[in-house]
């Protein structure tokens, strides 16, 4: 079994009126299967309200399935005795960095997680050091978090999660509130965690460019998985993605537009280099 296995997952939100009477039921996740192997870099795309975040919250037992089962590192999230193990195995990073930082000083904030786990003091400091180094924030360890940029704060949030030594990290739109530089910093840090530390990464995002390095992409729509495959396979389907309120990277779009004009461009061009090579072929 992989690090994460999901079978027949259904989750429903019950809508209530002001008196608390049930008005209706929204099925946010509808019969989803997912298999993620240790060390994978998985991206989840989907429009607002497609069920991505609800699915993500099942991966570290913030929500429990209404139907179906979620196993994290072989442990069923429905079993209460596993909750803390699961949350240590699968750490979560959210959209707004300001809601996730509590420490007065960067290194204290990062140490908060392992301290709560009862890690011996000496080891806490070792973990803080290695975590901050992994996201490139070690030189800011004595800073007050409110002196940092959005991208830096978000990297501190990520360090706070990896200090708990998770096998898997779930990031729910970690770059949505950042400027281009902050976005790049965070994505670079996330890719390094995956490449170097071999931590499984599950990245939820609206930025198509952040997805091209993933091993596998899932696209959600109406609580179901509508498309899945490698980034190349998924981004080959420009029209389907547009119907799902999504987009493709700009370079993919340009190649696609040229193909419509009769150029022999391959589908799912993901990088500028691929684009140049493909266009080079057209000149021969």
């Amino acid at each position: 079994m992989g690090i994460i296995k999901v079978r027949d997952l259904v989750y429903e939100y019950i809508r209530r009126d002001e008196e608390g009477n049930v008005e209706g039921i929204t099925t946010a996740v509808d019969d989803v299967d997912l298999d993620i192997e240790q060390g994978d870099f998985v991206a989840i795309l989907g429009h607002n309200g497609s069920g991505k975040s609800t699915l993500a919250k099942h991966l570290n037992a913030i929500l429990y399935p209404a139907e179906g089962t979620v196993w994290v590192d072989g442990k069923d999230t429905n079993e209460e005795k596993y909750v803390w193990d699961i949350r240590q195995t699968a750490g979560m990073v959210f959209q707004n960095p300001d809601n996730q930082i509590i420490g007065q000083i960067v290194e204290e904030d990062v140490g908060f997680g392992p301290e709560n786990m009862g890690v011996p003091t000496e080891e806490i400091w070792e973990r803080v050091e290695e975590s901050l180094k992994a996201v490139g924030m070690y030189s800011y360890r004595k800073f007050s978090p409110n002196k940092l940029s959005g991208g830096q704060k978000q990297r501190v949030s990520i360090a706070g999660v990896i200090a708990m030594h998770p096998k898997c990290i779930v990031l729910d739109e970690p770059t949505a509130m950042l400027d281009p530089k902050g976005r790049k910093e965070v994505i670079r840090a996330v890719r390094a965690l995956n490449d170097v530390e071999k931590i499984t990464v599950i990245l939820i995002t609206h930025y198509m460019e952040e997805v091209i390095y993933a091993d596998k992409v899932y696209v959600m729509d109406q609580g179901k998985i509508a498309l899945q495959g490698t980034p190349k396979e998924v981004f080959s389907q420009v029209e389907q993605l547009k119907e799902l309120r999504l987009d493709v990277p700009q370079v993919t779009l340009l190649a696609y537009e040229l193909e419509k004009e009769g150029f022999a461009m391959p589908k799912g061009v993901l990088t500028n280099r691929e684009f140049v090579e493909a266009l080079d072929q057209c000149t021969r």
Binding site: H47, N48, K181, G182, R245, Q250, N272, F275, V276, L279
Partner: protein, 283 residues
């Protein structure tokens, strides 16, 4: 009505040890009817700047003129200024509070002391301008999708009939379709009503696609103020301050590096496509 900033500086915590110069001698002219993109990394002074344009913040030194009048002069009607210069904050849907969509949009004009009929006409027109269907008017704003909520919040500002509309990252957190819908709607509004629009954005691709003038802020100063093409020509300088050119500009540069004789003075997908087609025709 034009806005003129004359040597405007703003210092947070002046005369304290924590004093920060957020705006440093900014001089700008914002004439009627322009579509302006305001870019700069987090902390560059963009939000501080826009809050000076409708008098929410007061310049530490220098002056802001609206239609020739100093907005800090005695007797200047700031309330009126704020109805003329509408500011849509980041995540404006957090400011929705009424029980239904229509009442929420009515709130602004109601505070202007207009007649009930005028208020409702304005609210109706504003909701139409942002593309909200009648079916939603009496729904709770909290039951709408993220993109719809944001449009209702923008309608609330439009109902004040502003002459200048400032939007601080109106697409943050929206999915790509929602992003295009909001920006297309704003572009259409701009075409139809001729109002001035100032778009604060982190997306170079969006800015390149929509605006006709870009103001680049860095460390509280205006670093560039020009047409998108001219600004993005300085891509290396932009990168040095945490910004970039649109992605398509980099594709064209890479093509040039590989011996394709195409212009890299390109900022949108459409321009790139035409440029490449023309190049292949000429061969």
């Amino acid at each position: 009505m034009p806005i003129i900033l004359d040597n405007v500086s703003h210092i947070y915590g002046e005369d304290t040890a924590m004093a920060v110069r957020a705006l440093d001698k900014i001089s700008l002219v914002i004439p009627d009817g322009q579509f302006i993109g305001l870019i700069g990394h987090t902390g560059s002074g963009k939000s501080t700047l826009v809050q000076h344009l409708n008098g929410l913040m007061k310049a530490t030194s220098g002056a802001v003129y609206f239609n020739g009048e100093d907005i800090d002069s005695e007797g200047f009607d700031k309330k009126k200024l704020r109805s003329k210069v509408g500011l849509v904050f980041q995540y404006p849907e957090h400011q929705l509070f009424e029980t239904d969509v229509f009442s929420d949009v009515c709130f602004g004009p109601k505070n202007l002391g207009l007649s009930k009929k005028e208020i409702e006409l304005r609210a109706y027109a504003a909701l139409k301008l942002v593309g909200m269907e009648d079916d939603y008017f009496y729904q709770s704003p909290f039951e709408l999708s993220g993109g719809q909520k944001r449009r209702v919040a923008i309608a609330g500002v439009l109902a004040m009939k502003p002459e200048v509309l400032i939007l601080d990252e109106p697409t943050a957190g929206l999915d790509p379709k929602g992003r295009d819908e909001i920006l297309d709607q704003i572009a259409k509004l701009k075409r139809e009503t001729g109002i001035t629009v100032i778009l604060v954005s982190h997306s170079m691709d969006d800015v390149a696609k929509y605006v006709d003038r870009i103001i680049v802020m860095n460390k509280g100063r205006v670093m560039y103020d020009d047409e998108p093409r001219e600004v993005f020509r300085q891509y290396q300088e932009l990168e040095a301050i945490g910004l970039a050119a649109p992605q398509v500009t980099y594709i064209m540069k890479e093509l040039r590096d590989h011996g394709f004789d195409v212009s890299d003075d390109v900022t949108t997908i459409e321009e790139a496509k035409q440029e490449i087609i023309a190049y292949f025709k000429e061969r």
